[in-house]
């Protein structure tokens, strides 16, 4: 069993499966709550704001019966006075049984885990890793399809810079899946990820247009960010080309649609009420998954 959740790269398939099973087990407590973490304190160290991730962890810890302390604004803490991350972590571990950290610098969560004796969960270290997002994505897929093996999954949008899709592709390579990458040429999946897939013998193909997506079980859409484009017109064109609306659903059939949220214009609101939409449920799955991880790392899950 792992001590910390820092990177999806650290996890073996057995670790992931164990976490997903525990998350399924947590569903029965996700509404009514439990007392298994009574007396335990989680500290959330958010060196950059990410309200929904932080609230998801807070909600999960509360459902487990524990308490939460922390900050989401570095203006209020000694970092402003020049305190190192290591020192902040050493302080906060005196106050809590487990730490969740989000920090703009890459590798910060790994460093925090090395400094702290209590378990550490990475809630995002810059563009590097956000493993609980990946785990809740996998959990959502498994819950919807009862399996991950055998599925054909399209990842769409900004595949070049998207941390979420890199980690997800990496995690999916542990399963027997077929992947389809849908992106403009300039935002293709990086070489490093495709090399990894080749090594793991995970079949993938790359298409440029939404219309060229073959029959898939699932489309995982991500945001295309304006700042990636030098030309604003190019951004507008690209954004519209990858928008999922009623007409694209005709092409996609009954494929489920996932999105890490927040969305901008990638998915039309008219999709929300269709059986295709899985993204709100996906966000909700953050609770049982984070309950599972918190309880496993604290050693309080039964």
């Amino acid at each position: 069993m792992v001590q910390d959740i820092i990177s999806i790269r650290d996890l073996e398939k057995a670790d992931i499966e164990n976490a997903l099973l525990t998350a399924a087990d947590m569903e029965r407590f996700a509404e009514k709550g439990t007392t298994m973490a009574q007396g335990k304190i989680l500290s959330t160290l958010f060196f950059e704001p990410s309200t929904r991730t932080m609230m998801s962890f807070q909600s999960a810890m509360n459902r487990l019966g524990g308490k939460v302390i922390g900050f989401s604004d570095i203006k209020s803490i000694s970092v402003q006075k020049g305190e190192t991350l290591s020192d902040t972590v050493r302080m906060m571990e005196q106050y809590s049984d487990i730490i969740v950290i989000r920090h703009p610098l890459e590798g910060s969560a790994r460093l925090a885990a090395e400094v702290a004796d209590v378990p550490v969960i990475n809630a995002g270290d810059g563009a590097n890793q956000h493993p609980t997002q990946t785990l809740l994505d996998l959990y959502t897929i498994k819950k919807e399809f009862d399996t991950i093996d055998g599925l054909t999954i399209a990842l769409m949008g900004d595949l070049k810079y998207g941390r979420t899709v890199h980690s997800l592709a990496y995690a999916l390579s542990l399963y027997d899946v077929e992947l389809v990458f849908v992106s403009p040429r300039e935002l293709r999946m990086p070489h490093e990820v495709t090399e990894h897939l080749k090594e793991k013998k995970t079949p993938y193909r790359e298409v440029v247009n939404l219309e060229d997506i073959p029959k898939v079980d699932l489309v995982y859409a991500t945001r295309i960010q304006k700042e990636r484009f030098a030309d604003p017109n190019e951004y507008e064109r690209t954004k519209d080309a990858y928008r999922i609306d009623k007409s694209s659903i005709r092409l996609l059939g009954d494929a489920r649609i996932m999105h890490p949220l927040p969305r901008v214009s990638e998915i039309a609101p008219e999709i929300d009420k269709t059986p295709n939409a899985l993204y709100f449920e996906q966000a909700g799955n953050g609770i049982p998954v984070r309950m599972a991880l918190l309880s496993m790392l604290m050693g309080v899950n039964r």
Binding site: S7, T84, H103, E106, G107, G126, N128
Partner: protein, 153 residues
């Protein structure tokens, strides 16, 4: 005494790092922290080599460098050889080989890596040795040979 001998004089005891790529001797000194040692260090740069044009040589007197100490110079000079000298005789000759991990030798080339902002000892895993691919233990980004040369010179 011939001119050649003057340039590359023998040492009595110690370590001779030979066949260093031309101009890289100074980086070798930096990597091995030889600028901080008390022993006599001789740096010879761009001398004629029988094998390949020119080469650099670094000699450290009265000190035997351990294999793991010198292995990281493979980062910039994989063809280098390490000769241990006793009483003017080469008693051991080794090639350098990259270790599995490289600690405290080079900074991460990723400007937003935590190691460039906090006092942290850098750790890299060697994913491939030819061509070199290193992965930062912290930010998980890779460094290629060109990145290594950029930071080590």
């Amino acid at each position: 005494m011939s001119k050649k001998k003057l340039k590359v004089s023998a040492i009595r005891n110690g370590t001779v790092i030979d066949h260093i790529r031309p101009g890289k001797a100074f980086s070798v000194v930096k990597i091995l922290h030889l600028d901080e040692t008390d022993e006599t260090v001789t740096i010879t740069s761009r001398v004629a080599s029988k094998v390949s044009g020119t080469k650099d040589i670094v000699k450290i007197e009265d000190r035997e460098l351990l294999t793991e100490e010198v292995s990281s110079i493979a980062l910039i000079s994989p063809e280098a050889t390490v000769n241990i000298i006793k009483e003017y005789e080469v008693i051991d000759k080794r090639n350098v080989r990259l270790p599995d991990t490289i600690e405290n030798i080079l900074p991460c080339s990723n400007p937003v890596c935590i190691t460039n902002h906090e006092p942290v000892v850098t750790v890299f895993r060697v994913e491939r040795s030819r061509p070199i691919v290193l992965r930062c233990h912290y930010c998980e980004r890779t460094m290629q040979e060109k990145d290594v040369v950029k930071v080590l010179g």
